[in-house]
Subunit: 358 residues, 2 copies
């Protein structure tokens, strides 16, 4: 263990991807909680719900009827946050000389990805082959947008407590003609590291974590899942390949299979941690697509494809970490160390709690 | 109205204080919501609660008995996230050469500020004189820490939905021996602007907003409250003085009085918006205290003292904006324009809804 990991009193850790620090207060782990406790709906989900606008055969808000699909199903988001140019002139006029009112048009495309026809089936309860089908769908989406949009943001909001508007397992893709803020920051930091060290930042990090071991959650031949040294969320996980891969669409069929296996293990461990369908936001970052203005030849060399899991729970299925006050105004703060969180996740079983006899 | 304000389709706006962009999707304002609806406890709060660890005369977790206080009461946080050096050697050892595991000790001091002895009295329902007493308390705290800590972060988490752990109206102060991430970013951006333009960024901004008018919420001779051009949260408000003030402890008695009047109007309007005790995180930013390593003579010239209100509600007292998925992974997104939000707040009465006969 490196000396930096022996901190037992308040300390800060630096996130080289985002450039932000996290305040770690291990001494707060036992703080009593008398604030809000979430109401977790205990309803059993069925494989089909007549009122679900994502289930096969049902009618959506737009009037479109979903086909009788099996496996992943992708359709246009009826309430897209990013849309194609609509013909209305959106010129922001001459820029204000001091740049205090900078605005720009944002074009893009938003789609919804139902994971399967089964209204009740989360990733944690899927077979690996079904998760592979989702990965295949993600890759097809990336390929389809490669020439038209700079960034293709895949994500899943899971759990009502986490802002998910429909329990039918689904994710989203928001493709944009610009590089969104957080990806731009990761982009600049990976570029700067690469130009200094001539190796990708995250690949160096992955190799060091593999030897240090104390933040690992699970690992296979191709992939690593860990609670990063600088994690903000209590049980945050970073997924990365063990070899240089800049984009999801470059993954070999074998790496797609081993990724499905890793995602299965992570989501099962998450569900087992508090014996609940674990809420999270999950998403993928990778090298942006080429554009004349914003890319360098070495961008793909500097980037490592990676996934982030940001789960809101802190102590139980009903007590979450509130990112409020100090976190919104000054710096993100956590109450246990990333090493403690990794240890808790590592010791969770790889068999889903609903399938255990005891 | 400047051309940049006529955007009716998705667009992005730049925040010159934080360097981040916000994605604005005015087309999503009418999106139906079938996700989580918050349970708002409708219990009436009484002026004294025997189980409240903040009420006068009651015993806290630490065993300390609160005195029989009147008006604001400040005490040591029993579960401090930042503490004084504890004698344990916290050296992080030789830095890792590639800086992927950067950690540092963080020292500080955390206190709780009860707004008054009355368990039920929020700022919106206080007399202006009572709010003035809170401002006096804030200023005393700033003065007390001036020589010992670099940043003194004042904040209030209001509302159970917003992570507040006790309904007794109170705020907090976390003082630190370092500049936390978000304040460091504001620090650098204000410095850079000042060295280019020789005027403070926020003061230039305030003057432009006063003439544009369409994002103003309320204004008096000394202060302005507005929904910033780049607001992330639906009903976010920025408070700033109309003259150059770098630190709260420099405010004249008159400016303290007019600030109390402004805070009263803002909090009343907030409560009136959805006829509920409006939840928010609120806090103050100002020029950091001097340290040999991290300050320049012009820092106070570049900084403008300002307050941020970040309220989570979106459409009603029970439907909040979830900052999840795309927001956590790519860029903050909002569903109505800041001008629409400002208009809604402006048209709210200055008389608290509980005091109206109709
Ligand atoms: O300090 P409190 O009220 O116990 O806790 C609240 O505010 C803190 C500072 O913003 C946060 O870290 C906690 O997540 C939140 O629940
Ligand atoms: O797109 P949905 O599922 O309707 O909405 C959810 O995800 C979006 C993207 O992260 C967020 O902007 C919303 O606040 C959230 O409720």
């Amino acid at each position: 263990m490196s000396p930096a990991e022996t901190f037992s009193a308040p300390h800060r850790r630096f996130n080289p991807l985002s450039g932000a620090w996290t305040l770690v207060s291990p001494n707060r782990a036992k703080r009593p909680w008398s604030g809000q406790v979430e109401d977790i709906p205990k309803e059993v989900q069925h494989s089909y719900d007549a009122n679900c606008y994502l289930c096969a055969g049902n009618t959506r808000v737009s009037g479109t009827v979903n086909p009788d699909y099996k496996g992943p199903y992708v359709f246009e988001n009826d309430h897209a946050a990013l849309t194609a140019p609509n013909g209305i002139s959106q010129s922001s006029g001459p820029a204000d000389p001091k740049d205090l009112f900078r605005g720009e048009v944002a074009n893009g495309h938003c789609q919804v990805i139902c994971y399967s026809e089964d209204h009740s089936l989360t990733m944690a309860e899927m077979e690996e082959e079904q998760i592979q089908q989702i990965i295949t769908t993600w890759i097809k989406l990336h390929r389809g947008y490669e020439d038209s949009f700079q960034v293709v943001q895949l994500f899943e909001n899971k759990g009502a407590i986490n802002g998910c508007s429909n329990p039918h397992p689904h994710g989203q893709v928001w493709a944009s003609d610009h590089i969104p803020t957080d990806i731009q920051v990761e982009h600049m930091n990976q570029r700067a590291y690469f130009s200094k060290n001539e190796t990708p930042l995250l690949l160096d990090y992955v190799h060091q974590e593999l030897s240090k071991q104390d933040r690992l959650v699970c690992v296979n031949k191709d992939w690593i899942a860990l609670v990063p040294y600088w994690a903000s969320w209590p049980f945050e996980i970073l997924i990365a390949p063990r070899t240089h891969q800049a984009k999801m669409q470059h993954l070999s069929p074998k790496m797609q299979r081993t990724l499905a296996a890793l995602l299965k293990r992570i989501t099962v461990k998450y569900d087992n941690l508090f014996k609940t369908s674990f809420p999270y936001s999950m998403g993928w970052h990778q090298a942006p697509n080429k554009s004349t203005s914003n890319s360098a030849p070495s961008d793909e060399d500097a980037w490592l494809l990676h996934g982030h899991f940001y789960p809101p729970l802190l102590r139980s299925s009903t007590i979450k970490k509130f990112m409020v006050g100090y976190e919104l105004l000054a710096e993100v703060q956590r109450d246990m160390t990333p090493e403690q969180a990794a240890e808790m996740l590592r010791s969770c079983s790889d068999i889903h709690y609903t399938q255990c006899s005891s």
